[in-house]
């Protein structure tokens, strides 16, 4: 293997057109800037966390990488292969081969499992599509997967409604692992689970990574879970990265005012720490249809007036140790 990163994304752009409701003609009246020029790379066996508030483009980025929503612009390389070229060639075998390399765990385990299929059906379905396991081996592999995610053999004949949220998320993970993927994109995998169950699933993801040497893209709005599972973290705001750094570096010395506010806003389970440390951001996220021309965080930023942020759009700049920041003040 070369020293190329396992997943490389260059200048990814995803715009969703908005159409007016005409009777005969649909006219495009605007565009939602979901992701606007995002570049990053993930090394093999590591975890990159994508953090941001709802609507900042985390999920759109992930879906563009998997080609579930084809990106508007940009290049994506997985293990050195150009994903866009392969999906555009429309060769079914090649597309399936790529899909086997990368799998997705969705946010809500109550919605992402078919209620009319048993667990065995759900986990075996990828085999029928990808034909990566001979039919005689299906059941062995099924039980192997169930064991891997901490479920019992007798669970195979049950339906999703018979399981708790945590167990359902385990089923989703088993289904994703059925094709032996190398990249797992986990989109808020613990957001809809209770705290005690959350810890179980996070530990499971960590164990699986150690065992199977998988690469993770972990999407979350919850910085405290991100700290536990990620090696590197990228903070997104309105479709752009504002700060990227190693996890410890980012948490110890956040440089971007948005990251600082985001961190201070997390409720810390310690009554003495919480008092007086919260930076409350004024206002709300601007509209992604007409994003601010300069720095997108400018309307909510307390330092904006000093640095002429209305006009200049800051670029991601390395300030040392691979710590990237897009902010006039921090640089």
């Amino acid at each position: 293997m070369s020293d190329r990163p396992f997943l490389e994304v260059k200048n990814l752009v995803k715009h969703f057109p908005i159409s007016s409701k005409g009777v005969f003609f649909k006219k495009q009246v605007g565009v939602i800037h979901a992701v606007d020029g995002v570049s990053f790379s993930v090394d093999k066996g590591t975890t990159l966390g994508l953090v941001g508030e709802s609507g900042c483009g985390k999920t759109s980025t992930a879906r563009a990488i998997l080609y579930l929503d084809p990106p508007t612009e940009g290049e994506i390389y997985l293990d050195g292969e150009d994903i866009k070229a392969i999906f555009k060639s429309k060769k079914k075998s090649e597309v399936l081969r790529l899909r086997r390399k990368m799998q997705y765990v969705f946010q809500n385990p109550y919605a992402s499992l078919d209620p009319r299929m048993t667990v065995a059906d759900i986990i075996i379905e990828p085999f029928t599509i990808h034909k990566n396991v001979p039919k005689s081996e299906w059941h062995n592999k099924l039980y192997e997967l169930l064991e891997l995610v901490g479920l019992e053999d007798y669970h195979a004949e049950r339906y999703p409604h018979e399981f708790s949220g945590g167990q359902r998320q385990r089923i989703c993970i088993a289904r994703a692992l059925a094709v032996d993927p190398q990249l797992l994109i986990a989109d808020e995998p613990v957001a809809s689970l209770d705290v005690s169950i959350r810890a179980q699933i996070l530990n499971l993801l960590k164990d699986l990574q150690d065992k199977l040497e998988m690469t993770y893209l972990y999407i979350s709005h919850d910085l405290s879970t991100v700290r536990h599972i990620c090696d590197r973290v990228a903070v997104m705001y309105m479709g752009k990265f504002v700060e990227v750094a190693e996890t410890d570096e980012l948490f110890d010395s956040p440089l971007h005012p948005y990251t600082q506010a985001l961190m201070s806003a997390i409720p810390v389970p310690d009554p003495e720490l919480t008092k007086g440390r919260r930076i409350v951001l004024p206002g709300e996220t601007s509209s992604p249809i007409n994003p601010p021309p300069g720095c997108r965080f400018e309307p909510r930023c307390i330092y904006a007036k000093e640095h002429n942020c209305v006009e200049k759009s800051p670029k991601l700049v390395d300030v040392g140790n691979g710590h990237l920041v897009a902010c006039e003040k921090a640089q």
Partner: protein, 340 residues
């Protein structure tokens, strides 16, 4: 111990409340003997995982438990009167006027086909004998109070035109419209982003102090109660495990469940390799475990724990614990105040 807490009056006292749901699958004991109290001017945090009976307790206070739920026992004493003895007509005078309620999801608790003006004036005119015009002025005042920009314009909008944070502000305004003495907030920030969550929590705290209200804050997030609550009751499977002031709950708690819950929270201050896990799942409330309901998941469980229900006892002044082994156990406290 804060001396103010000791002398202040109780505004609400719930004794041994039992709310059951008679379903086809069996009798669900959602709330099974909960006793809590709220003092004047304080915020009580009700903490627990889903299915621990937090919301049903709040709904029971207002007498709006949905069918097939029924309150089968206990007392809810509000300002010296038992709310369970009151008629529906009397309760209607209390709901919204004396006790305000902020629901979890602002996009479903506001009516989509009425403007904000309609929804606010409805509550105001119902409880106060004033004209529509005066009510409208009051509603605009309220929107100013919850820091909504351009209240004169925003009052004519419909819920779908507002963002989640703005909708929750309207819901808070509606709950405060008659200046209640007690505010019930049921996971008021669960559906909001962290930065908006911080705004709403700050707002509620300021308004509570301004009006001298008491508040019950229901949440599953230990981080939120740490910052907002004065005292905390930890619930598990329809019963109270532990009640004490916030510092005690975090630093000197005595119940193994409180301990396990705090350990399972990913902390920003410490990066551990592995999170502590509470084994198993929340019990089925149709046939809850015998004795202490936490015993199947408790690492300190002994024979007595599965046989006898532990009573909620005052082990130290103002510190109530329901655990047979509370006095003998030494629990490792997961959080120390290390600076970030």
């Amino acid at each position: 111990m804060d001396w103010k807490l000791m002398v202040s009056k109780k505004i609400l006292k719930i004794e041994n409340l039992k709310t059951y749901f008679d379903t086809f699958a069996g009798l669900v004991k959602a709330v099974d003997g909960i006793s809590i109290e709220v003092r004047e001017g304080e915020t009580l945090g009700l903490v627990g995982e889903s299915g621990s009976g937090k919301s049903v307790t709040a709904l029971s206070i207002l007498g709006i438990v949905p069918r097939p739920g029924k309150i089968l026992g206990g007392k809810i004493i509000y300002k010296g009167e038992n709310l369970l003895d009151k008629t529906e007509k009397d309760l209607q005078k209390i709901r919204g006027k004396e006790i305000g309620y902020v629901f979890q999801d602002p996009s479903t608790s506001l009516n989509p086909v009425f403007s904000i003006a309609d929804q606010l004036t409805e509550v105001i005119m119902r409880h106060q004998n004033i004209s529509k015009k005066e009510a409208l002025e009051k509603a605009i005042e309220l929107l100013k109070l919850v820091e909504i920009p351009d209240p004169e314009i925003k009052i004519w909008t419909y819920p779908h035109q507002l963002s989640g944070g703005m909708k929750q502000r309207v819901a808070v305004a509606r709950a405060l419209s008659c200046q209640p003495s007690l505010l019930l907030a049921d996971e008021p920030t669960t559906n909001l982003d962290v930065t908006i969550q911080a705004q709403i929590l700050n707002l509620m705290k300021n308004l509570k102090d301004k009006f001298g209200m008491s508040m019950i804050l229901i949440t599953h997030d230990m981080g939120i109660v740490a910052g907002v609550a004065d005292r905390i009751s930890v619930l598990y499977a329809g019963r109270v495990c532990e009640t004490a002031d916030t510092k005690t709950i975090f630093h000197h708690h005595l119940h193994p469940y409180t301990n396990a819950l705090l350990k399972a929270v990913p902390s920003l201050a410490l990066r551990k390799e592995k999170l502590a896990v509470i084994p198993g799942t929340i019990p089925n409330l149709i046939e809850p475990p015998s004795g202490c309901r936490f015993h199947p998941r408790c690492e300190y469980a002994q024979a007595i724990c599965s046989e006898e229900i532990p009573p909620l006892e005052e082990v130290e002044p103002e510190h109530y614990v329901a655990c047979h082994r509370a006095k003998e156990l030494t629990l490792e406290v997961p959080f120390r105040s290390e600076k970030l």
